[in-house]
Amino acid sequence: MGLPGRTHLLWVLLTLLCTGAPAAQNVGGLADLSLSQLADMPIVSAARHEQSRSGSPRAVSVITAEEIRRRNFRNVPEAVGTIAGVYLQQTNYGGGSPIIRGMVGNRILLMLDGVRLNNGTFRLGPNQYLNFIDINQVDRIEVVRGAGSVLYGSDAFGGIINIITKAAPDPRAGAELTGFTRVRFATADASGAGRAQVAGAHGRVGFLAGFTHEQFGDLKAGGGRGVQPFTGYGHTSGDLRVRFAVGGSGTLTAGVSRLELHDVPRTDILAAGSELQHLWTGQGRDHLYMQYEQSDVGPLLNAVQFTLSYARPFESLNRILRSAPAMQRRHSDLVHMLEAGVQITTLAGPRHVFTWGATATNDVIRSSRFDVDLGTGSAVRKSGNYFDNSRFAGTGLYVQDEVRLSERLDAVVGARYDRFRIRADGSDPAFGSLALRSSPAAVTGSGHVLYKLTRTLSAIAGVSQGFRAPNLDDATILGGIETRYEIPNAELRPERSWNTEYGVRAQARKGTFSLVAFRDAYRDLIDRAPATLNGLAFVDRNGNGVRDEREEAVFQRRNISRARVHGLEFESILNLGQAWTWTHSTTWTVGSDAGRDVPLTRIPPLNGASRLTWQSGRTWWLEGALVAAAAQRRLAPGDKTDIRIGPGGTAGYGVVHVRAGLRRTALAGLSVAVENAGNRRYRFHGSGIDRPGINLVVGWSRYF
């Protein structure tokens, strides 16, 4: 008796998916294979990151746990800023925004353990959100330079920074209990920091818990400039991760963390005097997440990873404008970020590894502002930075194939579809009521190849498309800011890019090097453009039809800009005998606003770093580093009026750091650094603060 058509289909599907346990080769069979055969065998793991980058056709840089421990970084932005191809911009000491291939702010995707930090309120220009992660929790940092929208979606435009935190111990590895305390002191900012951490495993459960507190004083610059006011702040954070062994190959990880930065001033605005107060009394992030990973689930499901995350970034900002010294504006913004994702890895024959999956995000914004009369103490509620309860949601589907085309040629190709929904309801006296609904979508693709020229030398080449979906900060801003009045735009489209890169990479006994050239073309970039409201180019508050002194000009965000960025990235590690290692990186970037034929804003100067390290056995190590950048005089029109840059641009610099470490025993370690040994005055391009002058940094760790 024939089965109905639908039943046929169902039967075939069930047969394919439920044929019992996968017929994987057993270990005994594998052990009979030769090393060459084993080396050619594709394997799967649920995580997106790999341990070694030299086989990747992408331009990837990494800071390992070892480097993070040795160099005793103050925070995550400072660590990321030392990675080849990344330049750090600092508006204030409590911030730090990475620039990759000329892109900054919401055109860089920040991720924590594969979960997005970017949300619907990330603004154009530099932001401080990378400092919402405690460096003490970090195991390694991976930077993918260039667009990565196929795997990571919106905002993966100039690059992706993925912070991977320390995992709780694997309970399958046996029972254990470990921990450490660490302190760090520095002279330039009169800072003190401490971290206590304990980790253990028993039965089928492993855990890791830690607590950090840091206090930074005002930062002293070099060259006789002295202490920079409005730079000090505090930091407190705590984290707990629990790992459960589920069955033979399943792992469930649950984590909760809170980080808060206290009393963070915005240095550039306060130093310029345009505001009497600009202070984040509290800003940070709460995070709760669960991740389940399992390998060998079924024939099509060689590895599966489910992620469910809830994050709550928050900012409480107090401002007093010089023009209204008796009024304090108290802003409060909080985002409820929900993210869910599934990623599946499928082996298809000996040559193909498919990574495919879906993600969904939903950001709901709570935003408010109270204007407090400092004389009477009375408070008046005003519209916040965003419409309260506005929403930014997205869904994405993607597939990527890592294919071995021949013994010498590997390729990675992929495609992705994303759709977003923006919803905002509110009103403004000059504009009237607003009910904004927008549903932008994007399709992207990419292809990269790696060709092994010799055993040690490879060539890489690739083309990728990137996109950034318009978010709440682009589409829904309504109201006056100083002399400008912005109106929303529901018609915004995603910003788009075509990124090409090619280069060579070598890994040999004596060291490694990588040279990558890139050429990126951006279109539909969102920028402010003059607009009209009720037929007028200004807000006619008194209705007289002419622009009076305090009436603002009307602007609207539109897809009006195009840009071109190209450059070179070089990095190398040379092992000079048994004890000496020389590490070097240089990055050169040129960017142009293609529509106006002027330089693109905030393009870093030619910059690089060289480090010579000596290590004797396990006990001692010593390192000298030269960090240098040329002057940046090629400025965008907006750079010249930016108080962080000015018409003269940024001076070049060359500073020397000296670091040493002593591992007295396997259980105790001391590190000492003299940073900016020449006490030079310098600042990173586009920053609101000078870098520290001569700075003695001492770190001490005790393990148990």
Binding site: A31, M41, I43, E50, R172, E176, G349, A666
Partner: protein, 173 residues
């Protein structure tokens, strides 16, 4: 009719996926197979040539389960035995596998003094002076040998192992 065509198309399209089931193995299985192969292709200059070959395990995690499946395999005429290391007691070990470098340093130092073959599982292992690391790169396992550590030891690697492995020197990578 349409459903039958769809079913046929699905079966054809699934060909490579069905094939993959026979070829796929977890990374811990492949790593275990690599370890067995490395033990076949490495020998100690003045080491024993008979009796049991003891591979000791430090926090081996999921690789231990895979290795248990090949325990008793005969390698160069010697039977492979596995033993978990407790409190850094390395007497009787000839080779050591570290599932994680997190707590490897003290045991590694002792292993180096005792001239044991050390095999690790992550990038940090070689910077801690481990001898051989099994790394995931481009969805494949890559063998890296620390030139500095292996030169100073009594272990000799066959040309076949050196042909497949990547030899690196120095501690920083």
């Amino acid at each position: 009719m349409l459903a039958r065509w769809a079913a046929a198309a699905l079966i054809l399209a699934s060909g490579p996926f069905a094939l993959s089931a026979a070829l796929s193995s977890s990374d811990s299985d492949v790593k275990a197979a690599f370890i067995v192969n490395i033990l076949r292709l490495a020998h100690k200059k003045s080491g024993p040539t008979s009796g049991e070959l003891t591979l000791c395990l430090v926090a081996a995690g999921s690789v231990e389960q895979s290795l248990r499946a090949v325990e008793n395999t005969v390698i160069r005429g010697r039977q492979l035995r596995l033993r978990n290391v407790v409190k850094a007691q390395l007497a009787g070990c000839e080779a050591l596998f570290f599932g994680s470098s997190a707590k490897a340093e003290a045991v590694l130092a002792k292993a180096q003094q005792m001239n044991l073959l050390t095999i690790g599982n992550d990038t940090e292992f070689l910077s801690l002076s481990g001898m051989i690391a099994l790394l995931v790169e481009n969805r494949r396992i890559v063998v890296e040998i620390n030139d500095s550590s292996s030169r100073g030891s009594e272990w000799v690697f066959s040309s076949h192992l050196l042909e497949v492995a990547r030899v690196v020197s120095g501690r920083l990578r």
